[in-house]
């Protein structure tokens, strides 16, 4: 029952909030709904074993409304459930035109995301995959920046092409299943010839690679992150990119193991290229939002590479890092949003000396930034360590090249801190004030998560252990 509620609470409250139009209550209702979802997600995390829900949906097609929440799904549902209240709290003072529609669409996005992480039926999965996209399209196009319409459109078409290719893949596998069913189990047990596996791999992987995004399919991402309203960007980069990674682990790895092994080198090289490439571009950015966007591409590249090395330690690292990257990147976006709201600019060249004006913000940002560089004691260190370890077992040279990105990450992150917070107090910074209470609260929660997960990551490893086990038992 819990998996169903995790989807239906945001779905129903989202529809209700949509009807509220411009009422200020919409904001509060959205926050309450997201906190309720968080409570449920926590209940799910502490319950034992995988949770299931199953109901008839389309008997003629062999598709059922079946949900399954194992360790990985619990972890990602928790991430989704934490993100939304934090995002709502952090941007509580931002005012939106037609706020009912804004918060309604946000909650619908949450419902779609939950559905993607929970669905254990391929057709249902595809439904939620699209359902998560449509509200984001409207969110970005209505409340985004200047170039929002064109940019969001590019994003939409990109991901839509991917989805359609995945649909063909789903249909193809479905036509080969023994019992003509879309169920996850049937998909796992499908017997495909090597050539067919390669086709299926290509069809699915393009969709997931666009979503993650993996070089060279990443070109929609920096623009979309820059132009979207910040609250949406946080969800996009904090949670939505995990859809791609999650889908690779859930659907691709167990379904076509031979093709995954066969294409592993190719994908890893692409990922590592993307890491270095994105890091180099990030160094040259002046816009804080674009910098974070490129840094995100680099981090995702590492996760993708660590999946495809196909060893246990790498996959464990990916599991932890999926959660931690979400926490860290949302923290960075919150800081970027505070700066933009207060000072009216995101250009680092126009900022400087902010630490004198806003000391609390400076401390919190530095903590977040250190987590972004994966310094020991922060959460990202554990994940990156495990992932590099996995990569090392696979190929030393690739690990060495990928390792450069750590150095580059330090370069651009510290550079940002320096330019924004230290040095001469810039003209635009003179009337800056420190953080409001709600932003402090939101950032505070994230910082606690960063430190706790950095010091004691074992519970998270235990949580996702069953998923990792299942994948390595099957091979």
């Amino acid at each position: 029952m819990i998996p169903l509620l995790l989807i239906s609470i945001p779905l129903l409250s989202g529809l209700a909030v949509l009807l509220l139009k411009d009422s200020p209550a919409s904001k509060a209702l959205a926050l309450v709904s997201s906190i309720a979802t968080l409570a449920l997600a926590l209940v799910a995390v502490f319950s034992k074993g995988a949770l299931h829900y199953d109901a008839a949906w389309l008997p003629a097609l062999g598709s059922r409304f079946s949900l399954m929440q194992d360790g990985m799904a619990k972890m990602l549902c928790l991430l989704t459930a934490i993100s939304f209240p934090v995002v709502f709290a952090a941007t509580y003072n931002n005012s939106y035109q037609k706020s009912g529609a804004f918060y309604g669409l946000m909650l619908l996005t949450q419902a779609g995301l939950m559905g993607v992480f929970l669905a254990s039926d391929a057709l249902l999965f595809y439904f939620f995959w699209e359902l998560a996209l449509i509200p984001v399209y409207f969110l970005c196009s209505i409340w985004g920046g200047e170039r929002r319409i064109a940019v969001t459109f590019k994003f939409f078409i990109y991901t839509f092409i991917g989805s359609l290719l995945m649909l063909i893949g789903i249909l193809f596998v479905y036509s080969k299943t023994a019992d003509h069913s879309f169920a996850l189990e049937s998909f796992y047990h499908v017997k495909l010839m090597a050539k067919e596996q390669a086709y299926v791999f290509a069809l699915f992987f393009i969709a997931f690679a666009i979503k993650m995004p993996i070089f060279p399919l990443h070109t929609w991402q920096p623009d979309a992150y820059e132009q979207s309203p910040t609250a949406t960007t946080m969800i996009l980069s904090g949670v939505m990119v995990k859809m791609g990674i999650y889908a690779v682990i859930r659907w691709l790895l167990p379904m076509v193991p031979d093709a995954v092994s066969g294409h592993a080198m190719f994908v890893i090289i692409l990922s590592v290229t993307g890491m270095i490439y994105a890091s180099l571009i990030a160094i040259r950015q002046d816009d804080i939002k674009r910098l974070i966007a490129y840094s995100s591409i680099a981090h995702i590249g590492l996760m993708c590479a660590a999946i495809f090395v196909q060893n246990r330690i790498g996959l464990e690292g990916v599991m932890i890092q999926m959660f931690n990257h979400g926490v860290n990147v949302i923290g960075l976006w919150i800081v970027a949003d505070v700066i933009e709201q207060q000072l009216g600019t995101r250009k680092m060249s126009e900022l400087g000396g902010l630490a004198q004006k806003a000391p609390v913000l400076a401390v919190l940002l530095v903590l977040m930034a250190l987590a972004n560089v994966a310094l020991p004691l922060t959460n990202a260190f554990v994940g990156e360590f495990l992932m590099f370890n996995g990569l090392f077992q696979y190929n030393v040279w690739i690990t060495a090249i990928a390792g450069i990105s750590i150095i580059l990450a330090a370069v651009y992150t510290l550079n940002m801190i320096q330019k924004v917070f230290y040095g001469q107090v810039a003209e635009k910074v003179t009337n800056a004030v420190d953080l409001s209470f709600n932003t402090q609260l939101a950032l505070g929660i994230l910082v606690v998560l960063v430190l706790v997960m950095g010091l004691y990551p074992q519970p998270m490893i235990n949580l996702t252990k069953d998923t990792v086990d299942a994948i390595f038992v099957q091979r």
């Binding site: 595809y126 196009s141 319409i149 459109f153 359609l164 649909l167 063909i168 249909l171 479905y174 036509s175």
Partner: protein, 462 residues
């Protein structure tokens, strides 16, 4: 049989009522009532009850599949009359005649869903087409409408000529007008030997049917005719009539395609790719929404052709679902388009602010046309793709199709962008509350089928 008789009768009744009743606004109610009678008559037939028993000497063959398609066509027409009845009235001076012609078109449609011989096919196509030539020119004082009508008539007659030639050749080759000539007796090395005349005739039939459903490269009449015709009738032409054309196309080639061997798939894949290419790429460049919809109807035809390509049971279900989904969405979009003062994309700017209900319904219709999940259009496309994948062996054509589907998102979403994201004050003619409710019902139906397509398809199995 019921539907054929009742629709013809209703046509005559409508014509006469134009003389008897002076009140023009009565006509649309009369037509709606007539359609409900027609619907009931058709449903009665599916339970084996006949209005009049007629021996058709095996020229017509009634089966659930065709009767169910009739139901879809009649319901779509009913929705069309309810939503746009007022606009039909306003087209010209003789509203009764327009409704009468709509009924005659339906008569043609019902023959096309049950023909069992090439002669009946010919009759059905003609009964369906001739009223359309008149409807296209209904706006007598508008030069474009006249031009479209003439163009349609000339091109239509031309394709009819080709069809007749094809039928004659098939008769010469097989000695029969039946659509199931059966397996030829002579075989050469296990492969049935088919007369050259039959194959040539089939290709001619194929060409003329492609013309009727506006598949490229026989589509050239479509944009001009759809654009020139009064918008209300374009809506009807692009939905019910087109779907019926497809139904007949599929019924005709279900058994015949084997006779053409490998040629069939080559020919068909060429037409499919050409149709998708022409429809989608040209639609991208249109500034007028009406013209865009004309090209989009070509593009959708490309998708419907997959039913012929696959030719299995799934495709049969798919064409029903596609007909329903596509008709509903197109009728919805056109109903809104007719109310707009300005047919260009810019004319839609800011519609979400001035008419939120219209904008919402149009958005759902457009999402359905582009095949987004949760709308009927998704399952329509799904069935087409699934049918081809199931038939096996042609994954490449499916991939090409979905790439074009992604292109179609571009032009459909431009309308959504104009309505929601651009500033402007879109002007509409007066919108009644009933119209809004009707539109919302259409949108609701689209979402319902999108959630549970079995609602529609289960009915098919009973």
């Amino acid at each position: 049989m019921n539907a054929i008789i009742v629709s013809a009768l209703m046509g005559v009744v409508m014509m006469l009522s134009g003389i008897i009743f002076q009140n023009k606004s009565l006509m649309k109610h009369l037509a709606a009532a007539g359609l409900i009678v027609l619907l009931v008559a058709n449903l009665l037939q599916s339970y084996g009850k006949y209005v009049i028993q007629v021996d058709t000497h095996n020229l017509l063959h009634f089966e659930q599949f065709g009767i169910f398609f009739n139901t879809i066509a009649i319901v779509a027409t009913l929705i069309y009359v309810l939503l746009s009845g007022k606009d039909i009235e306003n087209t010209g001076v003789h509203p009764a005649e327009y409704f009468a012609l709509v009924f005659f078109v339906l008569c043609g449609v019902t023959i096309l869903t049950s023909f069992n011989g090439l002669l009946m096919l010919f009759l059905g196509v003609e009964i369906m087409s001739i009223p359309l030539y008149i409807l296209t020119g209904a706006d007598k004082k508008n030069l474009k409408s006249n031009e479209a009508s003439l163009k349609y008539l000339l091109m239509g007659s031309f394709s009819t000529g080709i069809m007749l030639m094809g039928i004659a050749l098939i008769y010469g080759g097989s000695g029969s007008f039946g659509i199931n000539p059966g397996t030829p007796e002579m075989t050469v090395g296990g492969i049935p030997k088919v007369s050259f005349l039959t194959v040539a005739g089939l290709i001619l039939l194929f060409v003329s049917m492609c013309f009727k459903v506006s598949a490229a490269p026989f589509h050239f009449w479509t944009p001009d005719v759809y654009d020139g015709a009064p918008s209300v009738f374009t809506s009807f032409m692009a939905t019910v009539v087109k779907a019926a054309g497809f139904f007949a196309f599929m019924r005709l080639f279900e058994s015949q395609s084997d006779l053409m061997g490998a040629t069939w798939k080559i020919l068909l894949s060429f037409v499919i790719i050409a149709t998708l290419l022409v429809g989608n790429i040209t639609a991208v460049f249109q500034q007028s929404v009406k013209r865009m919809l004309a090209y989009s109807s070509i593009a959708q035809a490309g998708f419907m052709l997959f039913a012929l390509y696959a030719g299995n049971d799934l495709a049969k279900e798919g064409i029903l679902l596609y007909a329903a989904a596509y008709s509903l969405a197109t009728i919805g979009v056109f109903a809104v388009l007719i109310k707009m003062k300005d047919y260009t994309l810019d004319g839609f700017n800011g519609l979400a602010k001035t008419q939120p209900v219209l904008a919402l319904a149009t958005t759902i219709c457009l999402l359905s046309l582009s095949g987004i999940p949760l709308t009927a259009g998704f399952f329509a496309k799904y069935y087409m793709l699934a049918a081809v994948v199931k038939a096996g062996g042609a994954l490449w054509i499916v991939i090409v199709a979905v790439l074009f589907a992604a292109v179609s998102v571009y032009y459909y979403f431009r309308v959504i962008q104009a309505m929601y994201f651009k500033d402007g004050a879109a002007e509409t003619s007066e919108i009644t509350g009933g119209f809004k409710i009707g539109l919302l019902l259409v949108a609701g139906l689209i979402v319902l089928i999108g959630l549970l397509p079995s609602v529609l398809l289960n009915y098919f199995y009973f």
